[in-house]
Symmetry: C2
Subunit: 465 residues, 2 copies
């Protein structure tokens, strides 16, 4: 299959890189005229890019006549461009192939607007760390991370989440992906792991890369249920109760209690509570974390600074119940902490001096405002009569269910024609389910400013009306 290293460092969008690469391959004859191209889904899986990236690249290649689409069969390379002057006729440009050149409003999920990060404060603290702590800066730290940072995290969790944690229970690591891998090593690869379906695709991929026993768990309107788990033989369940990704469900207390009862009923059962964007909660009363409701050491809590600070900072932490702390030191204590001391010292200062609290409060206001703008704009426009908004009580994204007769891919493609990108909910299912949503898209609002949100909503109105 087409193998091509996408440069995510580049300013050039991924779809444009893919478009340019394929155009060149066709022009040079490396992809021969008439050759069948991989399906959009297969290429998306192969290159590990979203299907929208591939769709957009294919659409552009179609529009320029480099490839053709045969309904029911797929995409084929055209004769190399030197040989023919042929440009595709308008009829070839079906609804998945809009004539687009650029996406202006990208409702990407979990996107951080880094312009809101208090960089000058961070840089000032970094400089202080550099000038004051030279010996600590060069020596290896405790394998669970520096005790000073773990103390700050424990104090933050007590103050803002009402969680009673000892710093000794905290393990700091270079990202939740890494920590999830450690959890699998700690609990054992032979457990049966359950992950939410739909869910954050990386979670499924991490479990698949580390164990052969991972099972998708169907969701109801309250999230994963004990009933849904039964039958798979699952004994370790990964959940996102604060704000399910992508459905946006905030798991009610009754369901949390049900899951804890499930975990308590056997000694080898655990729940991994991924609290990835819990800092940003806009409506309803706060619900205690599973970790703080747990009296029997069945919950491993995991959270990240990647979403609350910046994507370039790979700092996450997990909280282990006491008996797992001992097991962790016994079995995995040989691993060095993966986060550099420099970042740990800077973050410690950032938290200690109250900058983290202020930053979170500020971002919460900003994200709430962005959510409100988007919801208001949709409700007040013509979209209001046929678009249902859901999953918007917390986090950085919401769902739009569109009752205009269009299916998901038509919704995406018509939005793309208006230079706007939304994401199909079905893309987040690791496994298809019977009642797959057909006309729902996911829209992240955290990475767009007020003007972009307003114009993006206007573009959706033009696209879907």
């Amino acid at each position: 299959m087409i193998t091509f290293i996408l440069d995510t460092d580049s300013k050039t969008p991924l779809y444009m890189q893919l478009y340019s690469y394929m155009k060149q391959e066709i022009e040079s004859g490396s992809i021969r005229a008439g050759e069948k191209l991989p399906s959009k889904r297969a290429l998306s899986a192969h290159l590990k890019v979203s299907i929208v990236t591939v769709e957009t690249a294919y659409a552009q290649l179609l529009a320029e006549g480099y490839i053709t689409s045969k309904p029911g069969s797929g995409f084929y390379a055209e004769c190399s461009f030197e040989e023919t002057d042929k440009v595709s006729s308008p009829s070839q440009l079906n609804e998945t192939a809009p004539e687009i050149s650029q996406i202006e409003y990208d409702f990407r999920t979990n996107r951080i607007d880094t312009s809101d990060f208090p960089f000058s404060t961070w840089a000032k603290l970094s400089r202080e760390v550099l000038s004051e702590r030279s010996s600590d800066l060069l020596n290896a730290c405790h394998h669970q991370g520096m005790i000073s940072l773990r103390t700050e995290i424990a104090s933050y969790l007590k103050k803002f989440r009402g969680m009673e944690i000892a710093p000794e229970q905290i393990v700091i690591g270079a990202g939740s992906e890494y920590l999830t891998g450690l959890i699998i090593q700690l609990l054992g690869r032979d457990n049966a792991y359950g992950v939410e379906n739909p869910g954050y695709s990386k979670i499924y991929e991490i479990f698949s890369a580390n164990t052969s026993r991972v099972f998708p768990i169907p969701m109801d309107e309250k999230g994963a249920s004990a009933e849904a788990i039964t039958g798979f033989g699952i004994n370790v369940l990964h959940v996102t109760p604060s704000h399910h990704f992508p459905l946006g469900i905030v798991m009610p207390v009754s369901r949390r209690q049900e899951l804890l009862r499930w975990a308590n009923s056997r000694g080898d059962r655990y729940i991994i509570e991924d609290d990835y964007d819990s800092e940003f909660r806009y409506a309803g009363r706060p619900i205690p974390t599973l970790q703080s409701m747990d009296r029997n050491g069945r919950v491993i809590y995991i959270n990240t600074f990647t979403k609350s600070l910046a994507p370039s900072m790979r700092i996450s932490y997990m909280i282990l119940p006491e008996q797992l702390c001992r097991k962790f030191t016994d079995r995995l204590g040989f691993y060095s902490c993966t986060v550099p001391v420099f970042e740990q010292l800077t973050l410690t200062r950032f938290m200690k001096n109250g900058h983290f609290d202020r930053h979170i409060n500020r971002m919460k206001k900003i994200y709430r405002y962005r959510r409100d703008i988007l919801c208001q704009k949709i409700s007040e426009s013509k979209l209001g009569s046929f678009v249902k908004i859901s999953g918007c009580d917390a986090g950085m994204h919401l769902l739009l269910t569109v009752e205009n007769g269009m299916k998901q891919n038509e919704l995406i493609a018509s939005a793309a024609k208006e230079h706007t990108r939304v994401y199909g909910l079905s893309e987040y299912y690791s496994f298809p389910v019977a009642d797959m949503p057909e006309n729902t898209v996911v829209a992240g609002f955290s990475g767009l400013n007020e003007q972009q949100l307003v114009r993006g909503a206007e573009a959706l109105e033009r696209a879907w009306i």
Copy 2:
């Protein structure tokens, strides 16, 4: 068993922490009088500390009468100190129980003297990065690491190791431990992995934590051999050909060719070449790496900046053969790079401006000088007549085989009485072998200055004469 969280951040040595903890447990009655204590080896494995740490703590407790030793049976807690005034008689202080209060000369292996790190240059470059690159600093980078850093690494390897690498083959990660875990995920947990025995204990632990199929490979005087691998069904071999840890063997070209022939003879065979301290080579002509001798994409090369810069910096890299690069992107491309962009940008500058080359050259001179001091001091003292030095052509440690009738533990204990610590070679065997060395200790020289090396050698002379 005794469970106790050691604080490696603390200035208090680990053995002293363990001593204080056990003393308090005995005084408080938590460990009851007459209770059998875990064996030194079991406690060392349980707490993940070196056996020397436990030995030193036990020796101190013995010396102060908190515990007693029953030959052939083990260690027992004494009546609590309040009840008796009993102090152990000199006869109880056998050779494993020296009256020591502090180790002054610790020949620990792989220790970096951080005072030699050009910290002010690093801090200056860090400040430049902070002031110049604010947008890059906050956004996620390519999953294999920043292309700018990978380009610098490729150029360094070409210049100093004659290796022809494309930056696209390089994957940057937070430490060799993390990258080794990724390699296992990439190749698959079902392979049969071979690790050198003796070897760096973490390597065995990493493989054990990630796969159930890891086998210790016996070593001959040239290292691991194709013959030794046969019979285990091994298809992936982890080796340290540049300077074996702890035997110090530099694998000759003929043996490297033999291993490559082994790897080439079947499509699923790979060699993981861990080049962890290859920068520091003092004698003999340079031998090409397995990676650069490999014509068939069978070698994964791994190296780290932790040993060449500072232990607090978790930056390592691996070089994948071309077909594994594609597989890596396909299967594991979803993982974010675990090294913060800030460290990557600073290291890129450090390498680009020639500081890394200069630092390595300087450290090589320093380590060579330290090795020479230690070897000379041993050869010229009375030790010269009965101590054989080996494994000193490269790296940061050497072996001392002592022909004075003492066994390994006596050598360690008598050195400890002279406030000097050396390490038993047998400790590095994941599995016992028939011809286990009985009178060889490992001495690292990289973390001691000239005066400490001289005095340490003098202490060994007093201890072993």
